[in-house]
Amino acid sequence: MAITKRHSTDLAKQVFDYAPAPEATDHIKIRPRYGLFVGGRMVEPHSKKRFPTINPATEQKLAEVAEADEVDVDRAVEAAGKAFTSWSRLTPARRARYLFRISRLIQERARELAVVETMDGGKPIKESRDVDIPLSAAHFFYYAGWADKLEWAFPNRRVRPLGVAGQVIPWNFPLLMLSWKIAPALAAGNTVVLKPAETTPLSALLFAEICQQAELPPGVVNILTGAGKTGSLLVGHEDVKKVAFTGSTEVGKSIQRALAGTGKHLTLELGGKAANIVFEDAPLDQAVEGIINGIYFNQGHVCCAGSRLLVQESIAKPLLEKLKLRLSTLRLGDPLDKNTDIGAINSKAQLEKIQGLVASGIEEGAEMYQPECRLPERGFWFPPTLFTNVSQSYRIAREEIFGPVLSVLTFRTPAEAVEKANNTPYGLSAGVWTDKGSRILWMSQRMRAGVVWANTFNRFDPTSPFGGYKESGFGREGGIHGLLPYLELT
């Protein structure tokens, strides 16, 4: 039975009729203006410049944040440099205690952080509440425990922190990416200057308060808000010894180029175009849930999103029918509603990028499917979308869309699946769905990707190293491997 738009919409209405369940915001205090967090204090920016950060679901201004200039970057790096002397010599067990405190404070302020994350970034509250914030706290807790055990991590070597780390993070998981950067850096004895993304600075500014509450020594963590210019000033600063960047492959390459010959340590976590491969023996209903989670989680604003679905030809038809049906039950709307599955697109610029790539897919000859879906009038929205009839050469099959858009391709043999999965300059993640254990391992060995999810997708944990092959970057975050980029072995 073919699933028509009307049919699936009717079904969705019958089965899923939810009353609104908005998360309360009355306990949230967002200040009208924020400064920069330098040397343990919120300070006025030298630049005197500020820019607004908005709620992408309403387009309403949430606050004005500072745009750090060269002098601000200098001051922050200097503060971090001063703090490094004492922080790196502090008894490791004491360093650990500060990190444990931070982890606990994140747990204590979890709901506030989740709500602010959702308001500033547009992601569904159930994701910020159940994924971003708990994982952030867990990340600090995990690396806190490493701070006084570093001598056990790298056999036969002594370890030394590098100095001031300049860290630039993206807007898709603001507090979680901050935690991935700051927790291992501090545990290893470095100090940091971190720049959150232009569109999602608020959780990082709340984190500055948490550092104060934790009585973290001044200058150990510094937060500079700003746009790309601030980021390039930070990574290029001569007293920054270590640069860690998560973001687009394009910007990552420009940072690698800019740092050439400087001797700075560098790790990059860049884009992806992951294949999610479904074999004919896979449990289809589970696979459908995995595909949905793989591409529509966080509106597809995920570098490791399973954006290329590779289906074995023999089950393409039934799988697509199930997938389309499931798509029609996804609830798009107010990110603060606890039942929302798909929130707002993070920014107007990102929405335009998604629209452009989707238009290219139609133009190149792919067939688009979108469930009937009313988009709110204000804010930035894009319905969950899937493309069939996709050729490997189409832009939607090659380029990272970073939106809720799935490209479906088919294959016949495992070898063909591997060939197609690896046919990309990226190599961040991959998925495989099959009931056959030996095939999972065979596929996992052959897929050139840093993370392979077998019969699951988009799972994260502080103990689990994450990072890419090829143009998805180098270095790992998470686990014992995530310590290495912040240490020198002697």
């Binding site: 070597r157 860049l270 996992s444 699951t456 103990t463």
Partner: protein, 276 residues
């Protein structure tokens, strides 16, 4: 065979590039004489590309060998090098210093031969994630590695980087030291008789100034080892490397550790649910 006046006439060797398991002249037909006497092929951009293509073709096979088998092949290389020790001592100028260098090169191969099947146990992990998943991390080779060997020591310096890269399952395109290429080109003869599949190791001689930019910018090279580079060359390499996010390995030239092996590797993490 005695010459006309009874003196011995040596059968001299024509030095060649080692590409795809074959000893070839440079396609450019050019040669240079770094010591003023012996003609050495002056490899070209095309030779380099051919070598990268050959190594890419050999990658899946070499990476897919069992760790034990890779260890045996590396050990075989040590045997072959040791067996031709006297020749290398002579190439390196003779004397105690040359003997020590050859011995070090042999020892390096033996040492890394023993690492192939231990590395994953030392650097891999099983990760206790907070959920019903089995999760583990293993090292995998990064792919095609370009090696810029130091000028000195001309033999041991190259072996110290080749061995760890090959140990991890990578395939290699190595630039021979420009001024002292003969030990590297002769080492290729050792590797050719050590059961490395064709294309796993390739050795190109010639001018660094000419070859390095192409090696650093090649889109199918995954990593480049800068052990033998000057600071200016390093800057140029790192700039070109950004085009395809190449890993640039900068560990010291005398590094000998599993950390050098993993510098040429990727960590892969695999998740699977646990359930009935």
């Amino acid at each position: 065979m005695p010459g006309r006046n009874g003196a011995h006439v040596q059968v001299r060797k024509t030095y060649k590039l080692y590409v795809g398991g074959e000893f070839i002249r440079s396609e450019s037909g050019r040669a240079y004489r770094p010591d003023g006497k012996v003609n050495v092929p002056r490899g070209s951009r095309k030779d380099l590309r051919d070598a990268v293509r050959a190594s890419r073709g050999a990658f899946a096979g070499w990476a897919g060998r069992t760790a034990m088998n890779r260890g045996q092949v590396l050990y075989r290389a040590a045997e072959m090098l040791d067996g031709r020790g006297a020749q290398f001592v002579e190439l390196l100028g003779g004397g105690a210093k040359a003997r020590t260098e050859v011995e070090q090169a042999v020892e390096t191969l033996v040492w890394y031969a023993g690492w192939t099947d231990k590395l994953a146990q030392v650097t891999g992990t099983v990760n206790p994630v907070a959920g019903p998943y089995f999760n583990f991390t293993i090292p995998e080779p990064t792919g095609v590695v370009g090696i810029v060997a130091p000028e000195s020591p001309a033999l041991a310096g190259l072996v110290r980087r080749l061995a760890p890269a090959l140990c991890g399952g990578n395939v290699v395109v190595a630039l021979a030291p420009e001024n002292r290429p003969l030990p590297a080109l002769t080492l290729a003869e050792v590797l050719a008789t050590s059961d490395f599949p064709a294309g796993v190791v390739n050795v190109i001689s010639g001018q660094r100034r000419e070859l390095l930019p192409w090696l650093a910018a090649h889109m199918d090279v995954n990593a480049i080892d800068a052990a033998g580079c000057t600071p200016e060359e390093l800057t140029a390499i790192e700039t070109a490397a950004a085009e395809n996010v190449k890993r640039v390995v900068k560990l010291p030239a005398d590094e000998r550790s599993p950390y050098l092996i993993t510098a040429f590797m990727e960590m892969k993490t695999i998740w699977h649910p646990i359930g009935v």
